[in-house]
Assembly symmetry: C2
Homo-oligomer: 207 residues x 2
């Protein structure tokens, strides 16, 4: 797949089939993630691939508990409380109102971070772009408190290793495609903050 097609049709995919992901496909995805750049070539990432059904079921519980924990801190205690204009939050409800939707993903990848000094997002993005190119949907989910200790126990992850990021992978029920983004005029400046560049007229074209 051309890289442009992968980049411009990547979107968060949560509605997944339970069909398994073949070993060789998973290999390619992991190789792409491994190839990502990092500061000082530290490679702070470790990919904990979760395929065991019972572990995936428990991981889903951890995720749902942590997601609602953060929402309660915002005064959101049930799906009906979610502001309708928060499209990202509304979409997340698919995973968080039914843990089975989350655990249905045939593979979850915990992208762990063994460094305090760097982050793992270049590897996450390579991983998701390679998945997209292979017809597999993904999105980054965050676990964290109050599930953090349980996640570490479930997978025997050393306590000093960060294990908050989880990418569920699966063949999509829906379609890849466009995603809402701010207009380029809000995002890109030339030589000075807020100064428009020569490219802005064409850049505003939707893709």
């Amino acid at each position: 797949m051309p890289i442009g097609e992968a980049i411009f049709t990547q979107r968060a995919i949560r509605r997944l089939k339970s069909d398994p992901i073949p070993d060789d496909v998973l290999e390619t995805i992991l190789q792409a993630a491994r190839r990502a750049p990092s500061g000082g070539n530290l490679q702070p990432w470790r990919f904990l691939v979760v395929r065991d059904p019972e572990l995936r079921r428990q991981l889903a519980e951890c995720y749902v508990a942590a997601w609602w924990h953060r929402r309660r801190a915002m005064g959101i205690t049930k799906a009906e409380d979610m502001p309708r204009d928060n499209s990202s939050g509304m979409a997340a409800l698919y995973f968080t109102t039914d843990a089975e939707h989350f655990s249905r993903a045939p593979v979850h990848i915990l992208v762990c971070n063994v460094s305090q000094a760097d982050n793992v997002m270049t590897a996450c993005q390579n991983l998701m772009l390679a998945a997209r190119a292979l017809g597999i949907g993904s999105t980054i989910t965050r676990i964290g408190e109050p599930s953090d200790e349980r996640v570490h126990e479930l997978f025997s992850i050393p306590p000093e290793v960060d294990a908050t990021l989880c990418i569920p992978l699966g063949y999509p029920l829906g379609k890849f495609g466009d995603a809402a983004r701010k207009p380029m005029s809000e995002l890109a400046f030339l030589d000075r903050w807020n100064q428009p560049g020569p490219w802005l007229d064409t850049l505003l074209t939707a893709r």
Copy 2:
């Protein structure tokens, strides 16, 4: 370009020609960066594209000062002090022993972060992969103290916005290609920390 080729031949490119990057090429690179995913679709990134030669010269001074500031804190005060086995640090010397090497890049992109809650690395990775696909080399550099205030002043960046990451872009003098990475057996586990997966034998193949 196929996404696999872009991902598997991306490497840090610092030896750059001064040839300009056409507007339409820069547009495509910025569009790819804009398209990156972010938590809650916050899109915390702002791309400050630096083309003005005098600004690029001053930005290079900021970078070199900050890089040596961090090295001095490690007891490294000159190129000869750099451990030879630190290949990433050795490679960085090309930019940091001669500011003209850094300012020679025809375009620098300051990838600013307007959020405290998220990072900008998915956008950086999209940007660099799109650049790679278009034959343009890049690497992520970090500025920061003691140059931080000067960077904000040079480009009128609001003080609350993080402006430490800078990606120099240019057509390479050298070649794209492989990059050293840890073996997959150190990076990927199945269902349990440190437990090898079925893919490991083939994954160790160099690419």
